[in-house]
C-alpha cells in the first residue's frame, strides 16, 4: 500500500511540474509578445517577380461554400498577358491586383462529393482555364489522400492550401508566397480568424481561443525563432520538398502537424505570417466541435508518438527548438495528465495521504500557482484580444471554463484513440467538419469598428504601412 501511495504522490508532483512548465511557457510567450522586440515579417517585401503557385482546396460535399472561395480567389487575380513590361506598369498592376493568372493554378479537389460540388467546380473550370478541378471517386478518402493526388497534378513551385470554407482576402497569395524567398523556409502559416463569431456562445469562445493561439502563441514562437506550427490551411509549402519526403501520410489525421515536424527534422524552417489573415467558419454546434477536437487530438498524438524521439535527437534543431517542439507535441496529452491527476488527488485525499510536502514555502508556492498559474492561458488570450484591439469580448474569458471541461473530455478520448492506432496500425477514417453557411446566403462582411482602439485585427496594419488603399480612403493623417 505504501508503494501505491508513493506512486500516487510522485505522479501528483509530476503533474504540478508539467503544469508549471506550461504556465511559464504561456507567460513567457505573452510577455514577449507584449514587451519584447518583434521580428519584422517577410510581408514587408515588395516584389515584381512571381513564383508559380498551385492552390489546393480539398472539398467533400462543399456545395454551400465552393463557389464563394473560388469567386474570391478569381477576383483576387488579374490577367497578366499582353502587359507592357515597364516597371511602372508592373507596379500599377501589382497595386491593382494580387497574382497573375499565368503564375497560378487553382486545383479544387472534389473528394467523393455526392452533392452539387462537382457541377460547381466544372462550371468554374469552363469559365477560368487556370481552375483545374480534380475529381476523386476512387482510392482513399480524406484530406491527406486528396492532397497527395492534388500534389501529383500540381505544377507550381509553391503549394498553398485553403479549406473550402475559407474566405481569402485579396493580398494573401502574395503575402504567403513572398516568404519563400528565404531559402531556408519550407512552409509558411498564416493567421486564421473566425468569421461567424456572432452565431452563438461556442463560436465566440472559439474566436477567443484562435486569437490567443495566433496573435500571441504563434507570433511569439516566430519572434523567438522557435517552432511556429504549419496548420494545414492558409499556408503553403515547397512542392518539391514535400514530394521528396513522401507527401502526406494517409494514416495520420493531423497531416499539418506531421508536415511541420518532417520539415523541421530535415532542417527546414516554418514561418508564421501574422499579416496573412484569412476568415474561416468555426463549428456552430457542440457536436461538430467535439468531433473536430477529438480528431485533432487523435492526429496530434499520433504525430507525437512518431516524432518525439527523432525531434530530441535532431542535429538540425537548437536546444530551445527541441524544448518548444516537445511542449508542442505534448499539448494534446495535458488534459489526460490532468484527468489522471484529479483522480490521483481524490484517491490520496480519501487515503488520508494528501500531505505531500510540509512547511510554509510549499504552501506559498501552491498559493502562487493558484493565483498565477491557473490563469496563464486566460491571460494569454486576454492579451491577444488587447493586441487585436478587441476589448469587450474578453468579458467572456471566465466562460472558457466550459470549453476547458469540454475539450478535456474529447481530447482525452482522442488520446486513447491514438494509442489504439499506434498498437493496431488501423487506418483512420477522415470526417469533415459540418459547414453552417447558407448556400445562397451572403458571405459575412465584417466592418471596421471605429470604437475600437485600432479597429484592426493586426496591430501592425495601419493605413500608415503603405498599403490598403481602399480601406479608409484617406491619405490625410494628422500628427
Amino acid at each position: 500500500m505504501e508503494m501505491v501511495v508513493l506512486i500516487l504522490k510522485i505522479y501528483l508532483v509530476f503533474t504540478i511540474c508539467v503544469l508549471l512548465v506550461y504556465s511559464i511557457r504561456h507567460y513567457y510567450f505573452t510577455m514577449h509578445r507584449l514587451y519584447s522586440e518583434q521580428r519584422v515579417c517577410y510581408q514587408d517585401i515588395i516584389d515584381s517577380e512571381f513564383r508559380n503557385l498551385s492552390i489546393l482546396i480539398p472539398m467533400h460535399n462543399e456545395e454551400r461554400v465552393a463557389g464563394q472561395i473560388l469567386d474570391l480567389l478569381v477576383s483576387n487575380t488579374y490577367p497578366y498577358h499582353n502587359v507592357d513590361e515597364s516597371p511602372q506598369k508592373i507596379l500599377d498592376l501589382l497595386i491593382a491586383a494580387d497574382y497573375p493568372h499565368d503564375k497560378m493554378e487553382i486545383i479544387p479537389i472534389n473528394d467523393f462529393s455526392s452533392d452539387k460540388t462537382r457541377r460547381i467546380l466544372d462550371d468554374y473550370a469552363a469559365r477560368y482555364p487556370f481552375i483545374k478541378p480534380l475529381h476523386r471517386y476512387s482510392g482513399e478518402r480524406g484530406k491527406p489522400a486528396a492532397l497527395n493526388d492534388g500534389l501529383k497534378k500540381a505544377t507550381g513551385e509553391i503549394i498553398i492550401v485553403f479549406d473550402a470554407d475559407y474566405l481569402p482576402p485579396r493580398g494573401i497569395l502574395k503575402d504567403i508566397a513572398v516568404s519563400f524567398n528565404d531559402p531556408e523556409v519550407g512552409a509558411v502559416m498564416g493567421r486564421v480568424v473566425p468569421v461567424n463569431t456572432r452565431a452563438n456562445l461556442l463560436t465566440r469562445l472559439l474566436d477567443l481561443e484562435r486569437t490567443g493561439g495566433y496573435q500571441v502563441d504563434q507570433q511569439a514562437r516566430y519572434n523567438l525563432q522557435l517552432i511556429p506550427q504549419y496548420g494545414g490551411t492558409v499556408g503553403g509549402f515547397r512542392r518539391e520538398v514535400v514530394e521528396a519526403i513522401g507527401s502526406f501520410d494517409t494514416k495520420l489525421l493531423a497531416e499539418d502537424t506531421d508536415l511541420t515536424f518532417r520539415l523541421l527534422l530535415r532542417g527546414w524552417k516554418i514561418i508564421y505570417a501574422n499579416r496573412a489573415e484569412c476568415y474561416e467558419e468555426v463549428p456552430e454546434t457542440w457536436n461538430t466541435r467535439a468531433r473536430q477536437i477529438r480528431r485533432w487530438s487523435r492526429g496530434h498524438n499520433q504525430v507525437m508518438f512518431r516524432y518525439l524521439g527523432p525531434l530530441l535527437k535532431s542535429p538540425h534543431l537548437t536546444g530551445y527548438e527541441k524544448l518548444d517542439g516537445a511542449l508542442l507535441l505534448f499539448i494534446y496529452s495535458i488534459p489526460l495528465i490532468m484527468v489522471c491527476a484529479i483522480i490521483d488527488s481524490m484517491a490520496l485525499f480519501f487515503l488520508g495521504e494528501m500531505q505531500i510536502v510540509a512547511g510554509l514555502l510549499p504552501l506559498l508556492f501552491v498559493g502562487a500557482y493558484n493565483t498565477f498559474g491557473n490563469f496563464a492561458p486566460f491571460y494569454q488570450i486576454g492579451v491577444a484580444s488587447l493586441l487585436d484591439g478587441a476589448t469587450r469580448r474578453v468579458l467572456l474569458l471566465p466562460m472558457l471554463l466550459f470549453n476547458y471541461f469540454f475539450n478535456t473530455f474529447y481530447i482525452t478520448i482522442g488520446f486513447f484513440e491514438a494509442i489504439v492506432d499506434m498498437f493496431t496500425g488501423r487506418r483512420t477514417k477522415w470526417s469533415k467538419s459540418e459547414r453552417f453557411r447558407d448556400e445562397n446566403g451572403e458571405v459575412p462582411k465584417p466592418v471596421r469598428d471605429p470604437h475600437r482602439p485600432n479597429g484592426l485585427s493586426n496591430s501592425k496594419r495601419k493605413s500608415d504601412d503603405g498599403g490598403d488603399p481602399d480601406s479608409n480612403g484617406t491619405g490625410i493623417r494628422r500628427e
Partner: protein
Amino acid sequence: MLIAIAALLLFALFALPFLPGILEWVRKQDAEPLFISMEYIRNPRYFGKSFRRILKSADFGTGTEPGIYTRVLSKEEKVEVTRCARFGENLEIDRVQVTIGELISSDRVLFNKEVYVAGNAVIGRDNVVHAIAGDGDITLGEGTKCRRWIDAEGTIRAGADCRLGISASSGEKLLLGRNCSFRRIFGMPILTGQGETAAGRADGATAPPGKLPSKGLNFVPVGDRAVAPGAVVKEDIVFLYDVEVGSGVRFEGSIKAHGALVLKDGVVVTGNIFSEGDIIIGKNAAVYGHVFSQKTVRIAGNSAISGPDKIKSVVGKKAVFLEPDVTIYGYVTTEGEGRTIGAKCREQDSPET
C-alpha cells in the same frame, strides 16, 4: 426556507464571475469578427495615390478655377487652388494647396497642410512640408523636412540633410543627397549621391541578370565563418554563424545567414540575401534579389540592388545605411533609421555606433 436561500446564495456566488460574460454574450457588443481588410495589398505609393483620389472625389482637378474653397476631404478643409504658386521666404501656409501649374517656394517656408502640384515643384532650403504629391518632378532644397509623405509621378530630387518623413515614393527616379533620412522610399531607381542632389548622375550600376531562385531541396547549411575570395557558390546556402564573404565571390542562388553577413567588395548574388544579423555589402557589389535583415543593412558605394526591369526590396529592421553611388531598383524600408551616409564617414557612421 433557509436551505433554499443558501442554495440561491451558492448559485449566485457561482454565477457572479460569469455575469459580465453572460451580459456580453446576450448584448453582443463586441461580437463582430475581427476586421480583415479584404482589399488589402501593399502599395509603396499608397499615400500619394490616396490623396489624389480624395482630391478627385472633392472635384479638384486641372480644370478647377483658382480660388479658396471649403471642402470635406478627410475632414472639412480650406483648399487654395492656384494656377502657379510662388511662396516667399519665411511664410507659413495653413491651407491645403492645389497648384495646377508649377510650385516654387523660397527658403524656410512652412506648409502645415497637404500640397498637390500638377506640374513640377521646387521646394527651397529648410522648408517644412506636411505632405506633397506631384504629377511632375519634385525637388527638395537642402535641409527640407517632410512631416508625413512625398509622392511624385516624376523624379524626386532630395538635397542634402533632407528628412523624408514616413514615405517618399516616385514613379521614376528618387535621388538622395548626403545625410538624408527616411523610413520608406520607393523609386525606379533610387540613387544616392554626394552632392546637394544626385541629379545629373547616370543611372548607376545594374545587378546582373539572373533567374528567379527556385531551389527546393538542396540548400546547404554550413558552419563555416568565411568564404574565400573569388569562389563561385552554385547553390542556395545557409550560414549558421556570422560569416565574412571574400571579394569577388559569386553566389548563384540565395543566401541565408543566422548571424551577421559581411560581403566584401565586388560580391555578386543572383538570388536573395536574408540574415538574422547585420548585412554589410561592400563596394561594387551586385545583388539581383531582396536584401532582408532583422537588424541593420549597410550598402557601400557603386553597389546595385536589382535591375531596371525588376522591383526588389531592401529591408533592415533597425536601420538602413546607404553610401554614395548606390543604386536600388525598388523599395527600401526600415522600422528604425534610414539614412544616406558619406563614404568618408564609414567608421563613425557604422551601424554599431
